[in-house]
Amino acid sequence: MAVVELEKLVKDYAGFRAIHGVDLTIEDGEFCVFVGPSGCGKSTLLRMIAGLEEISDGELRIDGQRVNELRAAERGLAMVFQTYALYPHMTVRENLAFGLENIKTPKDEIKQRVDDAARMLQITEHLERRPKQLSGGQRQRVAIGRAVVREPKVFLFDEPLSNLDAELRVVMRGEISQLHRRLGNTMIYVTHDQVEAMTMADKIVVLKKGTIQQVGSPLDLYNRPANHFVAGFIGSPRMNFLEMTVAEVRNDGIVVEDSSRHRFEAAVSPEGVAVGEAVTVGVRPEHLEIGTERGQPVTVETIEQLGGESYLYCTDASGKPITVHKSGQTRIRAGETAQVFLPAEAIHVFRKDGTALERLRIGEEV
């Protein structure tokens, strides 16, 4: 059981700062996901916690104790690698037992723990095989098993599912969540896939270029993205962004206007914006209303009809793409013109520096 605290963690490579002073507390038993595009420093941060990368500056504490100087093995963590990193010359059993042998655990205890872990992960029948003889999913289980037998304070996962095919990924996602519920350990999970982050996390940490963009629960990030980047990163398909200007500032919101003078009300805090200011307006595809009654005229370019839901890829008057997600089916055909409307409770407004205006009413919460 462990609390992991990061205080102003910095990682410098020769002439290049990869992590810019990260502050973060991961509570005991929490499932924390680091997410961000590749190169954002999420894996580096995880490896710093693991002890595989030196910490250039700042402090890392586990259960209140400074561990910067401790070796990887001495921090009481276990890690599941993206490539699984199973020792190819050892059997599954030897793979699981290697760490315990290294700390001179008695033989019968090793056997006990390995058998327990194998049973839990349903790999008992593969114990005497070599990693090469296993399928991707089985290897993944072995990699997790190797972490489990160590009974670590904290589990670290470095993009563990990225080498699996889509179907298996869903299954393993469920299994890792189940493992978390069962063991109750603190887990830190790195992924570039926001769907994994949304489905598994208690707490998501969004990273970009070595700095934290936002920390929060999955729905927090979805409903109240702190900035343009988080809004664009969380949610699928991606949020639509439109360049507009502030036309009116009211007490309970603002009114924005596009270049062809279509106006939309937005239920966001008017603090800190003035009339005439250029802003970026964001609306998720699933919140756009498409029809012929009101809103901005668009041309529908292509349509994906999935039966239960439909995606309409449109362009506005200036040729900018707008994606609309509609539940159910649609009668609109490709090539036709239509109108999209931005409901006030669905609008996100970002200032030019990318920060979001606070949303006052949120459609999806009611």
Partner: protein, 348 residues
Amino acid sequence: MVWSFISRTRGRNRFDITDWLTWGYLIFGIVLMFGPVLWVALSSFKTDAALAEYPPTFLPLSAQTVTVPGYDKPLPLYEVTGGEHKGEVLAQIRRIGLNAQMVDPAHPDQKINVNINDRQPKRQFAVQWSNYTQLFKRFNFMRYFWNSVFITVVATIITVIFNSMAAFALAKYKFKGRTVVFLLIIATLMIPPTINLVPIYLVVNELGLVNTPWAVIWPAVATPTGVFLLRQYMLTIPDDLLDAARMDHASEWRVYWRIVLPLAAPAIAVLVIFSVMWRWNEFLWPLIVLTRSEQFTLQLALNAFQGDLQTSWSGLLAMTMLTLIPITIIFALLQKNITAGIAQSGVK
């Protein structure tokens, strides 16, 4: 059937001139490459008398003898090729001038005189094993063999350990001076030890190693080839495996010998083969530092043996065979690995 297999060329059915030339060349190649070795092998089983014969016979043959009642020693058998007893096989008792006194083994009491030009020695296939056995009895063959084996085995083990440790450091750690060390090692690839014979001799002499096997072993174990070969291979071992082992409480030493070394086994096998070949066949350096005959390696013993006028070809040929047999066996067993390893690394 066999013919169609041999003539199966490039999917064409015609067996044209280039195919004839190809097969001619290949068969010539077999004769030229294996022939000399085979000839030495056959010769090594001949008696000294048969070796001195000119023109030489192909197979090891020796004069056939027979024991005739009334004579103490076995008598050599001859076939009579002319005169009145033509076609008979007789035993020779003694030679008197141009005549040989002979006897028919079936009628021991009757002596026959035959002109010596009318008889041919009757010979049989006979393997002279004593050429080999006398090496063990009269010469210190086992001593030389043991010296060679000791040097080869010990030098190879040390080579593999030292080179793999250095390769591990160069492949898997980032530290100041890594590039410098690596370049220094690569640079020595270009400086063959033959250039430094004199000063290496001084170092070996100062360390008191002259006339010990260590004089051959130590200067040879830090092969730049080995370090380079292993480093290149270890670069392909994923770093994640090492990190996983570190998370598994493995010390760096344990990471090296439980993870990296077993995984580098294919490259190590190549290095082992090279090292065995180098040490077993090495000649000039041992020639300089091993001057006492009880320290001689097989190669030195062979060389000393051939320079010695007292030695007979029979012993020398047998010893040559015994020296090339271990390498031949290794080659026969590991031909594929050896050729693949050499083709990949381009070193010898």
